[in-house]
């Protein structure tokens, strides 16, 4: 073994905590653009036996069949977002609650101009109320917790403090309630989905089977199955093929089972708004081809997952992740706009639409906090500081929160609390300035 090989070997023996740290950082970044399990199945040989990812963003489209997911009206009458005027025409099909990676203040969630949630490890989850500038701890961590998984949507905070039960605290309440559990569940994880729904991944049958479902964040009702994995189904096909092909090696049989299971997948995901249809079609390589109203986009971006979408009467904006390679080989994230006539990539910086469907915000690689006008593609720099490249940004239509990565030396001692700004609009209704509201929302 040469010295360089020895060095590579020895690096492999470093303390576990450093491996975990890199992994968690990669995960926190990746989480902002969720892969569907269709592509996971194609890439990682997860076996999927049923999937019905047919989405409708059109509130007029009512599809009662259980195999469909109909978002229906997106704003609950009890939701705090009800009174907001600027967002009242929006149909959210994407992430409303946001993920974050703000080091000491993890897993950040914005809830429609009213609340901002953040987590302090070994302490708890806090809710910042913009109107009174007060942060209150609403979930206490147990001794065994370092982080708690939580998501936020327009209606509530949802969190896990054990492996099998989702708890909920609505925005207007301080009281936690058991929201979702089942005797048969062995393990559960959560992700945000729409303004009022959440995505729940469940393992059951002694961890041998699993499924991912959309759960109504208000009623707790299961609205549809996105993905399921059933060991029995696999065994059934495997046994049949083994009998049909007794001479085949087991690896070949495995591949055949996979092919058979994959062939049963639904390969089209549809987002609909009025008479406009945005379609993601699974191709042979496990990616998706994006088209609108049956026309393939000029740029033909392939994406490997369902895309976060926000839409109004006039536009849909959505992010494309993981390799629209012929648009720009360097960047892998795009924001695209669709207005019924043209659909095009308008930004290659942002991971997902932070903001609303009229304006979204991002920090570019030079440290410019930029507002992007969806309708005109006009960009306005609202703040500029080279240090901003170390910040994550979370926004709705009224407020922007920025939070520094904890990437400096002696990081454990660094406290970099999220800072809150209010977006100020000019007489034409365009953002032109940020007003500092709170430079330390923790205290």
């Amino acid at each position: 073994m040469t010295n360089k090989e020895l060095l590579l070997d020895v690096i492999g023996e470093i303390d576990d905590k450093y491996i975990e740290d890199v992994d968690s950082r990669i995960k926190s970044t990746k989480k902002r653009h969720t892969l569907t399990y269709i592509s996971l199945a194609a890439v990682f040989v997860i076996l999927v036996v049923s999937i019905a990812p047919l989405f409708s963003l059109n509130p007029q489209t009512s599809i009662p069949d259980d195999s469909y997911i109909n978002f229906g009206e997106t704003t609950d009458t009890n939701s705090p977002s009800e009174n907001k005027t600027s967002g009242s025409d929006d149909y959210y099909g994407g992430y409303v609650g946001n993920f974050g990676g703000c080091a000491n203040y993890g897993m950040v969630g914005v809830a429609n101009g009213e609340y901002f949630y953040f987590e302090i490890p070994d302490d708890g989850i806090y809710r910042y109320t913009v109107s009174n500038g007060y942060s209150e701890k609403i979930v206490d961590m147990k001794l065994s917790d370092e982080w708690i998984d939580f998501v936020v949507n327009d209606y509530a905070l949802y969190y896990l403090q054990d492996d099998t039960t989702i708890h909920r605290i609505t925005h207007s309440s301080d009281t936690a309630e058991k929201f979702y559990t089942n005797d048969k569940i062995d393990s559960v994880t959560i992700e945000p989905y729409t303004s009022t729904d959440i995505k729940v991944f469940i393992m059951y049958d002694n961890f041998l089977s699993s499924k991912e479902v959309v759960v109504d964040g208000i009623t707790g009702e299961e609205k549809g199955i996105l993905y399921s994995y059933d060991t029995n189904k696999y065994d059934e096909i495997y046994n049949r093929l083994t009998q049909e092909h007794p001479d085949f090696p087991s690896r070949s049989i495995d591949d055949m089972v996979l092919d058979e299971l994959l062939s049963s997948l639904t390969d089209v995901i549809t987002h609909q708004l009025g008479d406009r249809t945005l379609t993601l079609t699974l191709d042979d390589n496990g990616g998706f081809i994006l088209s609108e109203n049956g026309k393939i986009l000029e740029d033909k971006p392939k994406i490997s997952g369902e895309c976060p979408v926000k839409a109004t009467k006039d536009y849909m904006i959505f992010s494309l992740g993981f390799g629209g390679t012929n648009i720009d080989p360097t960047y892998h994230y795009y924001i695209a706009r669709a207005n019924g006539e043209d659909t095009r990539v308008i930004s290659s910086f942002a991971h997902s639409p932070q903001g609303n469907s009229s304006f979204f915000y991002y920090i570019d690689r030079d440290g410019n906090l930029t507002c992007h006008d969806v309708a005109t593609s006009e960009k306005t720099i609202l703040m500029s500081d080279s240090n901003l490249v170390y910040y994550d940004l979370y926004a709705d239509e009224d407020y922007i929160y920025i939070c520094r990565y904890n990437e400096e030396k002696n990081a454990k001692k660094l406290k970099a609390p999220p800072v809150c700004y209010k977006v100020e609009y000019d007489s034409n209704g365009k953002p032109y300035n940020l007003r500092l509201i709170d430079n330390n929302i923790v205290e």
């Binding site: 060095l7 690096i11 492999g12 303390d15 576990d16 997860i46 393992m203 961890f207």
Partner: protein, 185 residues
Amino acid sequence: MTDENIIKLYFDRNEKAISVTKIKYGKYLYTIAHNILHIKEDSEESVNETYLAAWNTIPPKKPNVLKAYLAKLTRNISLKCFRKNTAEKRGGSQTDLALDELSEVFSADDSVEETIEREELLTIIHNFISDLDIEQRRIFLARYWYLYSIKDISKKLNYSESKVKVTLKRTRDKLNEMLKKEGLL
């Protein structure tokens, strides 16, 4: 399922341990293997060997962090497989490229055989990595632990490719200085 419960299944010699490990960590382990081997079948084989290694080593081992333990097994198994596969012919894989980059660290001729004591180097690397700032450490380990490409690191950690390259170069230079200071070069 918590890692603690999975480890309990291993200790109970319950074969569900492997199924659960596969479901919970299979994708992650495959990524590590594939970063090194770049061949689907070999990567799957390495991951399968990881399950077997876990089954054979737990107990007596009781990992503090199951995920990291499995990751280390996969990395070691995959690197062994890589060496075996490419003993005669080497191409432009990330592992080759990473090895080429690491050869910069050694100013002396590194082509013949191991000249540095493993334990001594391990201690130095441990200190070196713990002294790096977080950003440098993440980029360094993403490259030389996970063997991600520069492009992938840029994407996964949200840095520009040039920043990743510059950081890696500076970190390697720093390691070279440290090895000199410790009298290993």
